[in-house]
Symmetry: C2
Subunit: 336 residues, 2 copies
DNA sequence: ACTTGGCACTCGGGAACACAGAGTGCCAAG
DNA sequence: CTTGGCACTCTGTGTTCCCGAGTGCCAAGT
């Protein structure tokens, strides 16, 4: 159906279009990439590619431009992910290593990725659900108020002020704290509800009232944050580009929900997900592609990150950058 | 120098230009605002205003446009801050009241402000320096590692993992925690260094090693975060506007440092600060104005917030919104 | 002394038009 | 199947032209 040379032509079209941002014609193409055939032959191939829907012309008598389908084929079969240079790798490492806490890791990551790809980077905070409890702290503030602090193994900290129904003594709080920690330490967050369910019975009568209040707040915290936090950076990078609907993209970026869906569900493996133009689930973002990957410490994927840019982007380079950053972030998180 | 009517003309020019985004001519102006004089008279006044530098014409034979100086006069003397409608006030209250923690308050605030003004909103996190210590928590993670958690009276939580030089026992940690809290509770963050200085001597010999490490991390935390965190929202609102250099603005927004300077130093009172076009300290932002205000609980200003939009903005409305939001946020923070 | 109507002038922006250049499709020959 | 040739079709650009909004100035009116 598509012989070797036609694929080569498609690859050349994509590469040229990506680098020049102008429809590419048969002549220029035959020259720049030494295909060893004449422009006329290229024209014939192009005609076929167009018929099959891989490329298109903006108007008669203009060069060809890849369609979403064309990019898809390019990404799947015609390109190889381009690894970062040694210098870039080292830059990433040192830049990320300087982070002092989770917030800082995420902030640095998103900026790094934006700068590296010259596009808009998006990073999701490590999911609470998949991480485990490292410590629960109860801090008495007044005699009827305590602060509940939940620390996860990814370094994330959640806090809530709890108004208590009764006055509690410090000793009581200390006891509760000990019980909670004994019970929850190392527990996966999504298993907290079950784990906590039978806690009541193991408590002395006089603590139950207070414990109930605290536990309900704790559970609430987990539910509330089910909608995960997402940050982005590098919006300035798409300012100069008219091929994307700037307003729509900016709106999408500020909608956490939309962003979540764009990054996609946790993919099976640690593979890269690429969504090209109309493939993505938000109508305002045609003309835009997303390259995303999961990241995590060890096996379990904690969250996702990726970049968003014009459909006409340099996929090999972008994919390389996303993959590399995802790996490094995983390492950093695992190490802390 | 400028009689009553000339000022009225200037006001009319500003108002018309703001609402139409087109240079305003003498005829249209005389009609729309019933000034009771003929276009010719208006023309004379305009000539004077132009000579004085309050308005200008983009090219000969076009209408007039206010200059930065013109807007300045308008803001200072010709306009009144427009209070929000009752419905808007209630909307703010309920929206902000739903916040569960500091992060949430800030996030909600910045979105609210963006939506209310249809411009880019910027909110600075409450300053660490001006707040006080509510609690210091030390959480043993492993035998040579503890997590330091600092909770302030504004609900902000800072955390750091500390690697210790020696193995410590839980009892030691508990003791240190008690000492730290006794010593620092209610202490203003900017006074922490002094307060902590003589702590060494009051500690038993065997704790000093560990204490030194922890304290140095604690102090580091305070210094590190001297560059405060800032968030923004509503970037999509300036997408449709060609009068501002989109790229420059987006770049500025992602530079914390620049943003800090834009919001300005803590102003004397709780008054609004307005920076018009070239008045602001960053050259990429001519064509852009900033309306900012401090907010805080009670008297002391904790941080600042504001909006950023094209010089051609509706100042009375924007100022009203910023002032109102600043007040409500202050109340919320004071209450929690 | 200020206001007003009249009038000539200026200039930007849109419509109409022509034109060069890049690129195509097709065909006939290799 | 490939290649060179050729006629054709567009877009983008530059030119010209003209309309209209708006101005500045002046002389007359109050």
């Amino acid at each position: 159906m598509l012989d070797e040379r036609k694929l080569a032509v498609l690859r050349a079209v994509v590469e040229d279009y990506v680098s020049t941002n102008e429809p590419v014609g048969s002549k220029a193409l035959a020259e720049r990439h030494n295909l060893g055939v004449s422009p006329a032959t290229v024209r014939n191939d192009m005609a076929v590619l167009e018929e099959q829907g891989y490329i298109t012309q903006p108007h008669t008598s203009a060069g060809r431009v890849p369609t979403d389908k064309g990019y898809r084929l390019f990404v799947d079969r015609l390109s190889q992910i381009k690894p970062l240079s040694g210098a870039e790798r080292r830059a990433i490492e040192t830049f990320l290593a300087g982070a002092v806490d989770l917030d800082d890791v995420v902030t640095r990551t998103v900026r790094l990725l934006a700068q590296l790809t010259r596009q808009v980077a998006v990073v999701q905070y490590p999911s609470l659900i998949r991480s485990t409890v490292r410590h629960v702290e109860l801090v008495p503030l007044t005699e009827r108020r305590i602060m509940l602090v939940l620390i996860t193994n990814t370094g994330r900290v959640e806090q809530r002020v709890v108004d208590l129904p009764d006055v509690v003594e410090d000793a009581q709080v200390a006891h509760l704290r000990a019980v909670l920690n004994a019970c929850l330490d190392g527990c996966r967050l999504n298993r907290v509800p079950e784990t906590v369910a039978d806690l009541h019975e193991r408590l002395p009568e006089e603590d139950r009232h207070v414990a109930t209040t605290i536990l309900s707040v704790l559970l609430e915290t987990l539910v509330d944050r089910h909608d995960e936090k997402i940050v982005f950076a590098g919006a300035a990078n798409l300012a100069g580009d008219f091929s994307v609907g700037l307003r729509e993209v900016l709106e999408a970026l500020e909608e956490q929900v939309v962003l979540m869906r764009l990054l996609g569900e946790a993919s099976d493996s640690a593979a890269l997900t690429v969504r090209i133009g109309s493939e993505n689930p938000y109508s305002g973002l045609h003309g835009t592609s997303i390259v995303a990957a999961g990241y995590g410490s060890g096996d379990n994927e904690l969250a996702r990150l990726g970049v968003l840019g014009p459909t006409r982007m340099d996929y090999p380079v972008t994919m390389g950058a996303v993959r590399a950053v995802a790996r490094y972030v995983g390492q950093i998180l695992a190490g802390s």
